[in-house]
Amino acid sequence: MSPQFDHLYQALSKVIGYIYPNEIELSWSILIVLYPYITGLVAGAFILASLERVFNVKALRPTYVIALLTSFAFLLVATMPLIFHLGKPFRAWEIMITPHLTSAMAIFGFVYLWYLMVVLLLEIWFDYRRDLVLWSKETKGFKRWIYKVLSLGVYDISPEALKWDDKLGYAITVIGIPSAFLLHGYVGFIFGSIKANPWWSTVMMPIIFLFSAMVSGIALVMVIYIILNYIRKQKIDMLCLDTIAKYLFYIIIIDFAMESLDQIHRFYEAEESFEIISLLISGKLYITLLIMQVLVGMIIPLLTLGILQFYKPKERVRRIIYLLTGIIVLVGIFFMRWNVVIGGQLFSKSFLGFTSFKLSLIGSEGFLMASIWLIVPFLILAFLFWLFPPWKKSLVEH
């Protein structure tokens, strides 16, 4: 008995009922929980930015650039958990070179890189182009070099050129909205199309993933906006914050409705997998689903934000409430991903038993590794705020 299998022997002793012998170890672990979480933040932050740009919600203007940069910072990190999870990470290029078109996962190679990355880069470029040209003239040294390169050799900032920037930025955002939906919708489809697993196989899966992505993205931008202004000791635009919270409230309602519909439907139809799934929810997923995802992540924010629509306490109090609500929403959505990915593998496809999951601290799929992938995007974002400070931009009205 070599030590490399010790954790499997332990898991074997914790099996309840019957599982297929190959199901003892969960194939998709915390890194695969992280990937939909991160891409959800990307898509959600982008949708918030597009709310201002395309749907003309002027109150959100202060967060437009922050949302774009947040989306970009997280997008840069998004593939990392995936690549680190692969059994053969150095073969990851195969997904781009010989994608199997019947596989939803292969579509990722194109949706991720060619669509949303291009959209995000272009939108940020069109918005920042004027400033890049100006900053490249004003600054010195390393920064100057970067601005020059990023301006792509286009130095025309005449009013006509700026009008083109505006038009093109608008067009790209419009094209970008479906791409944001696709990026996260396909992740939901990856799970929703697995007929072998009844916890995943539902038409609602891409839709649930999408709306929970929007919830998490909006909450993230709200939290970053509050913290950023606190660090910079700036006065926060309360109208903007109230508007973000309002949209967060609406999207949580829709997300909650979609998830409830899925469960009610499951409960009502009570088909073959119903018994084992009920045991799953009331047993192994009791804390992560009923308490963390539903109660803490959805019901408490719903009640809080709902009350705040009618009764608005002082600014300071509202800010703290928004901050706390944003954080528990983010935690709740993380647990939603956990419950889908881990929960779906805890019960056997024989519908006769459960295996167990133990998250290790170290190791390639451990807690520390997962934390790194959650912390790095914030470091990248800090770097982006330093390199492309949104508050130093010459504000252009859209």
Binding site: M96, H100, F126, L152, D156, A161, W164, L168
Partner: protein, 145 residues
């Protein structure tokens, strides 16, 4: 056309061409031969060594005992089922000998009473009660049961 679009188009064309070039260079040679997979994989999998060589090879040297087995109740059982894979023994018969099972547990794997065993399929004995302690092969010749 504004200079931004011109610059972006040029950049776009360069990047797409680079990608297409990479795709052409990195796709494995036999890919797509029979379907969306490497055709060479079929040969690679087929090259795996065969370990259980079959009693038709055993009989070439051990003709008496294999013939005796083939005439009794154990006729349907391959030699290697009890004695293990013979590919090494076939190559170097003097150096590598095969396992000769003789424990009660070995025979019990098939012949012990288990309600799930169809009675038509195999004779079953309550091995705890049937001459406990004695080796089965003391009375039963495994090649002529």
């Amino acid at each position: 056309m504004p200079s931004q679009i011109k610059r972006l188009l040029v950049l776009g064309v360069i990047i797409v061409s680079l990608f297409l070039l990479l795709k052409f260079l990195m796709t494995p040679v036999s890919f797509g031969q029979f379907g969306h997979y490497r055709g060479l994989a079929l040969d690679e999998i087929a090259a795996h060594p065969v370990k259980y060589i079959g009693s038709k090879t055993c009989i070439k040297c051990h003709d008496t005992i294999v013939t005796m087995k083939n005439e009794g109740y154990h006729s349907d059982i391959e030699c290697e089922n009890c004695h293990g894979p013979a590919y090494k023994h076939n190559k170097t018969p003097k150096k590598v000998k095969l396992f000769k099972p003789d424990s009660r547990e070995f025979c019990a794997k098939c012949h012990s009473v288990n309600l799930a065993r169809p009675e038509k399929a195999i004779t079953q004995q309550k091995i705890n009660k049937h001459h406990p302690g004695k080796k089965c092969i003391t009375c039963h010749n495994p090649h002529e049961p």
